[in-house]
């Protein structure tokens, strides 16, 4: 039988085979990158390295805007712009649900001269723009708001983020919760009793579960 006589090399050459060695190598690579504190000690403690990983893709599942989802990232972004030696890195927001309000961002210490808003006409164009921005190497973070997208595109975004050393954050509705995703971190943000509820669905190198955001 030809199938049984195939060598290991043939097997590895098959694109469907995922090599664990590569996976661990890329993981080592990303874990050696700096992490950015989320500004919330409860969340930092649950993330490997103690903060948002850079050069990776993070997925936030959220149905309602305004639960403080950006507050999880803005302090880290302001810090990354402030601490940059040399060129101040760019932040790119693609297809945000509303207009990013400049005075609010300035209050939080974001360098507005390095913020780019992109309004693509379609989801495919949005994904393309995100890939370009992530890969460019001039962005600290790329935020992308999407109604939905398939696994294949997410994998491309993840690769682009790793290549460009940027943090990619994808905001999607909660209904994508049960789809597979290559993101190294998946978060679910929902309305809670007193304050928003944050759940880690997937943490590469960590433990999923509910996060206590503490008083904010």
């Amino acid at each position: 039988m030809p199938r049984e006589s195939s060598s290991l090399a043939d097997l590895l050459a098959d694109a469907r085979v995922w090599k664990l060695k590569d996976a661990s190598a890329s993981h080592r690579l990303s874990s050696s990158r700096p992490v950015w504190s989320t500004g919330k000690s409860g969340l930092d403690a649950r993330l490997p390295g103690g903060g948002w990983p850079t050069a990776s893709l993070v997925e936030v599942l959220i149905d309602v805007n305004g639960l403080g989802e950006l507050q999880l990232f803005l302090p880290a972004l302001a810090e990354s712009q402030r601490r940059a030696d040399g060129e101040v890195p760019w932040l790119v927001w693609i297809a945000p649900p509303h207009e990013p309000y400049a005075p609010a961002l300035a209050q939080q210490g974001i360098e507005l001269g390095r913020l780019l808003v992109v309004r693509p006409p379609s989801a495919t164009e949005a994904l393309w723009a995100a890939e370009q921005a992530l890969r460019s190497g001039v962005c600290a973070a790329v935020f992308l708001w999407l109604k939905g997208t398939d696994d294949r595109w997410l994998r491309r975004l993840k690769l682009a983020a790793e290549e460009g050393g940027a943090l990619g954050v994808l905001f999607r509705p909660e209904r994508h919760r049960f789809e597979s995703s290559p993101a190294s971190l998946r978060l679910l943000m929902t309305q809670g009793e007193q304050q928003p509820r944050l759940e880690l669905l997937k943490v590469q190198g960590g433990r999923p579960g509910l996060v206590d955001l503490g008083a904010s």
């Binding site: 805007n65 950006l70 101040v88 309000y101 609010a104 001269g113 780019l116």
Partner: protein, 473 residues
């Protein structure tokens, strides 16, 4: 600093010591040349140093700009003398092409090679050289002292003055320049006009003549007709490659770049399709031209098969040293290139920045910025200067601001417990704008409804109705 520079210069010599002959390829010369300005229409000032002019008069009706390009291989200062002559300042060329006789042979051989009959002369003044060339006098001298003597025998016709003037002079019995130069100048000016006297002064070298240097065509323009019509964009891209290559070469020769390219696709019946791409900075590099053009073509739906393409460059602009990244890290994008690529595909308006404005009305305290400044932000440290913020110590602003405030219904107001005291405390009052008809009188509250979101709402002070204006995301 000094030591570093020296090391760079001697790099080719030190490389063999490391045992690797090919380790240090010679640096590209472009950056050094890039500091040279693009030739502009600047008057040539011949009196700075002794100038020497080569004049050539062509037979028939020559294409002067094309010939001027040939002449520019010998000197940067070429000037057109309509209708059929060129003037070259050759003093500076002697070092490379001299001595004088040889330079002249080289130039004359060039016209001969092109199959054009030409007469030339070299003299220390523009008009002397030109007049000698017209008269067929093969003067070849850089001696200003004997110049006047060499002109005396020239016939008047070589001045190319108008027929009326020449007729006047002929009736006075004047045949040669020598006769004219002997006449009192005041009388001459009265009879022939000041222009003729000025010409004479220039010819004998008493007065310099500023001349405009010839500047080559300011745009690249090329049309390419296809033998078979092209129906797919992918083939168009390939067909464009050689044109873009020539365009890039055209720009490189001029140390120039463009900020826009226009492409016309001609169809058999329909109106031509016109495309225009802009670049975020002046560029002349082929890969960049090709990439942005390809992005633009990528979102084009061909209305019909393409019969021919025409590529027009925008106005040429001098390259700044920054845009040539011959030593730059290659591969990695710059922010410029990213923005450019996004804009080429998504449209100019779809990519923008935001900035704050000094204004108390929240909806007017920001605006979009299309002109993205790509220089490093002025205020390092992240926080913009305080003047740009309405009031930093004011209530925190929400990251999402609704385009229009949303009127809250009675039920929503109840649900948010806006009327009760525990849902609201310490409002920020914004009352302004009464002078321009868009006055506002609002009390803003930051509220947190039960489910955890945080909202920015205001109560219109006159109507007492409630509005949602933003979300603290």
């Amino acid at each position: 600093m000094k030591a570093g520079q020296r090391r760079v210069q001697t790099a080719p010599q030190t490389a063999p010591q490391t045992g690797d002959l090919f380790a240090a390829p010679p640096p590209v010369i472009a950056p050094a040349a890039a500091t040279l300005p693009i030739p502009v229409l600047a008057p040539v000032s011949p009196r700075r140093r002794p100038s020497l002019w080569y004049a050539v008069v062509f037979a028939g009706a020559p294409d002067l700009p094309a010939l001027a390009l040939h002449a520019q291989q010998f000197t940067s200062c070429v000037s057109l003398a309509e209708p059929n002559a060129l003037l070259l300042e050759v003093q500076g060329s002697l070092r490379l092409f001299g001595p004088l006789v040889r330079l002249r042979e080289l130039l004359d051989a060039r016209w001969q090679a092109l199959g054009i009959r030409a007469q030339s002369a070299i003299a220390p003044s523009t008009l002397a050289a030109l007049w000698c060339a017209r008269a067929g006098e093969t003067l070849c001298s850089d001696d200003a002292a004997t110049l006047t003597g060499r002109l005396l025998a020239l016939p008047l016709i070589c001045t190319a003055w108008d027929e009326e003037r020449l007729q006047t002079l002929r009736s006075m019995g004047i045949q040669r320049l020598g006769d004219l130069l002997r006449l009192p100048r005041a009388g001459l000016a009265r009879r022939l006009g000041p222009q003729a006297v000025r010409d004479l002064d220039i010819a004998v070298g008493k007065q310099p003549e500023p001349r405009r240097a010839f500047m080559p065509r300011e745009r690249f323009r090329e049309r390419l007709d296809f033998e078979t019509e092209i129906e797919h964009v992918a083939y168009l891209e390939r067909a464009l490659e050689p044109v873009l290559e020539r365009c890039a070469r055209f720009l490189r020769r001029r140390q120039a770049g463009v900020q826009s390219l226009a492409l016309r696709l001609r169809h058999r019946v329909r109106q031509p399709t016109a495309l225009r791409v802009g670049f975020a900075s002046v560029t002349g590099e082929q890969p960049r031209l090709a990439e942005v053009l390809a992005q633009r073509l990528g979102r084009l739906e061909l209305p019909a098969a393409v019969r021919a393409i025409e590529l027009h460059s925008g106005t040429l602009q001098p390259l700044s040293a920054i845009s040539l990244d011959a030593f730059g890290g290659g591969g990695r994008d710059t922010a410029l290139q990213l923005i450019e690529r996004l804009r080429a595909r998504l449209g100019e308006q779809a990519v923008y920045g935001v900035t704050t404005q000094r204004e108390h009305r929240p909806e007017a305290a920001w605006r979009r910025v299309q002109q993205l400044s790509l220089t490093a932000p002025s205020a390092r440290g992240g926080v913009p200067s305080l003047e740009t913020l309405p009031s930093l110590e004011a209530m925190p602003r929400p990251v999402w601001l609704l385009a229009e405030p949303v009127l809250l219904s009675r039920r929503e107001v109840d649900e948010l417990r806006l009327e009760s005291d525990d849902g609201r405390r310490d409002p920020e009052r914004i009352e302004t704008g009464w002078w321009d008809g868009k006055g506002v009188a609002r009390d803003y509250y930051r509220i947190r409804p039960a489910h955890g979101a945080r909202l920015w709402v205001f109560q219109e002070r006159h109507t007492k109705s409630w509005y949602l204006h933003g979300m603290f995301a």
